[in-house]
Symmetry: C2
Subunit: 397 residues, 2 copies
């Protein structure tokens, strides 16, 4: 029997999905499970977005241009303009989800053995794309005590080796919800220019900023050749299943290289590009209601978390995630216990163990990520469950 | 300015798409261009497939399961059953096009520096996925004189090194249209078992067999742990833009590894999975009409090609491609000349230079690939153009 690859063995399983069988078993027992574990919003996809596909009239579901439909890319230039990001349609390559934008960015810029620095905790799937590209992730730890602010410049410099080719930043951040300030982005610029590094900027949650304004890496002056924007419509329009994202850069050499990867896989999905194009035309006030909803959820989540004895949750400035520190021995054990051995009024809550978001072994053991993708009523119920759980959890510290 | 990766530099540009600007210029001059260069069929996507999406009723465009919707995978087991392929839904991972099935197969089974043997001429994008995975393609040349039959076993054995991890076969073949016989597939089995290799089997054109019956690699006995089927609905239902494929194998270790790559990119496109699921329910006679149409096209194409002095085209047994040998100095120059400097009754033809399908330098210089994705009338016009062109082409041999 032939053996699989090293990288197939090294590839990390999804830390978020491994608890799914326990959740399914809990539901079979009749327990209501509040899913605060995944970034699948409950917000309805805007009707005009779905209707654009449902009312489409073509006869052949053809390949699109490998870079995505020109009409969509043209519209995207207008979308970015609203954030003072000046790009042409030629500087946008439409990808199959933000996932493919990350993969293409790594593939085009990094070789096997190269290193990319990522503040941890970070989106767990960066690990997967790094393994796929045979790239090493060098984590730089940010701490819950500072609300997960950017670590000091000296800490970055300690990590830089001749193999370092880039820094990846997710802003606003998944899993911490931290919104990096303009000053922090300028620090990253300073490091990237000094050490000649790419700055990969994942801005999937651009629209969801509550305390402060989003500052895009694309707006860093003098960084045109360094910044690779990795974008997606998944969260923006609650259209995760569309699988439409974009890689955006002004670096022509990178664009040329990414285009070759895009051609190899032929094209991004055609139905979903119709939806994505319609989404750009949503009225300007579309996000106001959504943002108000998420902000209300955040406020109640963070307030109720901090009221539980021994729990600490910094107030996240953006996205729809919060990291909380719990008085527990082991987040993985706790999250499994919640589903397997606990219920409160026939309800329980599903959380993501903090460990899955750290590359440094041992970190995140007393932290969990909560995605506030449920309505405020359900969030209240979920927090009551969590409070009750922490009163009786055997591994309480 | 940071430099892009070696693999970004090595990544081959699409050999098929590089002539596009010349075709566009020809059209601007008022010349009709017959596109025999790409595998985008003109056959309409079946209405029930498009209607399934247009009549869908969900409110949130959610992520699907990373392996694809269970309902779709269940149906696919029935689809494969019709070809005596016995698989469970757990042995099917739905991918974003056949492209992703190829990439996942390479990633899960092969490490940087590993070698995969592929009979050439071959589908050019295998090169792209190999570069993405840092894998080396070792071509084994099949020849137009034998109609591109499988090279003898000794030729394979000459290429095998300790780094060889697999053989990739496309059956029926793109670009040659060659349909491998059961006996040839048994030869591949013999080699794979003897040398402990994976057999990657791209069967994108399974339905399109005219002379003889398709024999799937999945039906090779004793090869459950070796065979990785890479599949797609793109050609089957004329649904290239859906971007739905599948990786199918009975090797549980490979499935587990591929599943981790699938989880990292979250899910295949949701709209298109609805279309794909509906496609499985098409009436059994759906392919009869399509096959008859392609066969008629093949017959006229091959006949007219062989009537042109100095041209030789073996009769392809499947898919919708033919490779022809032309009396020319250089296929790349000729294909560009057709678009740039030639017209016949205000028409010309776009072909794919043979060189793009060979990994061995210098091969394919007097060959072109023709995709018979136009109706018989247009194919006739196109062949008249080609005949006229060969009468006046300055680089004629």
């Amino acid at each position: 029997m032939p053996t699989i690859s090293q990288r197939g063995q090294l590839m990390p399983p999804s830390p978020i999905r491994k608890l799914v069988p326990y959740a399914e078993a809990a539901k079979k027992r009749g327990v209501t499970v509040y899913h605060l574990n995944i970034g699948q919003p409950d917000i309805e996809t805007p009707e005009p977005v779905l209707d654009a596909v449902r009312q489409s009239h073509f006869k052949i579901l053809e390949y699109s241009h490998s870079a995505g439909n020109e009409s969509y890319r043209q519209k995207l230039t207008g979308y970015y303009k609203k954030f003072d990001i000046d790009v042409t349609s030629q500087q946008i390559i439409v990808t199959t989800g933000g996932s493919e934008a990350i993969l293409f960015g790594f593939m085009a810029c990094l070789d096997p053995g190269d290193e990319v620095i990522i503040p941890e905790p970070f989106y767990a799937n960066y690990n997967g794309f790094a393994v796929a590209a045979n790239v090493h992730v060098k984590p730089i730890t940010s701490s819950i005590e500072t609300g997960f602010a950017l670590p000091p410049i000296e800490e970055f410099e300690k990590l830089i080796t001749p193999k370092t080719k880039g820094i990846l930043i997710c802003n606003p951040n998944n899993p911490t919800g931290y919104l990096y300030s303009r000053e922090e982005m300028e620090v990253l610029k300073h490091i990237c220019l000094k050490y000649n590094l790419f700055l990969f900027s994942d801005e999937a949650y651009r629209e969801f900023c509550y305390s402060g304004k989003h500052f895009s890496a694309m707006n860093l002056e003098g960084m045109d050749n360094n910044v690779i924007l990795m974008d997606t419509i998944s969260k923006r329009y609650s259209a995760c299943g569309a699988r439409i994202g974009a890689l955006v850069t002004k670096n022509q050499t990178v664009l040329d290289a990414v285009m070759k990867f895009a051609q190899a896989r032929l094209s991004p999905p055609s139905f979903a590009q119709i939806a994505a194009e319609a989404a750009v035309d949503l009225p300007a006030d579309y996000f106001d209601g959504i943002k108000a909803e998420y902000e209300a959820r955040r406020d109640i989540l963070v307030k109720m978390l901090n009221e539980i004895p021994g729990v600490y949750c910094p107030n996240p400035g953006g996205a729809f995630y919060a990291m909380a520190k719990l008085p527990i021995d082991d987040a993985d054990k706790f999250c499994q216990w919640l589903l397997e051995s606990f219920e409160y009024k026939q309800q329980t809550v599903m959380l993501s163990p903090g460990t899955g978001f750290y590359a440094t072994a041992g970190l995140g053991k007393d932290e969990v990520r909560l995605a506030y993708v449920l309505n405020t009523g359900d969030i209240q119920h979920a927090m009551e469950c969590l409070a009750a759980a922490l009163r009786v959890y055997p591994g309480k510290k």
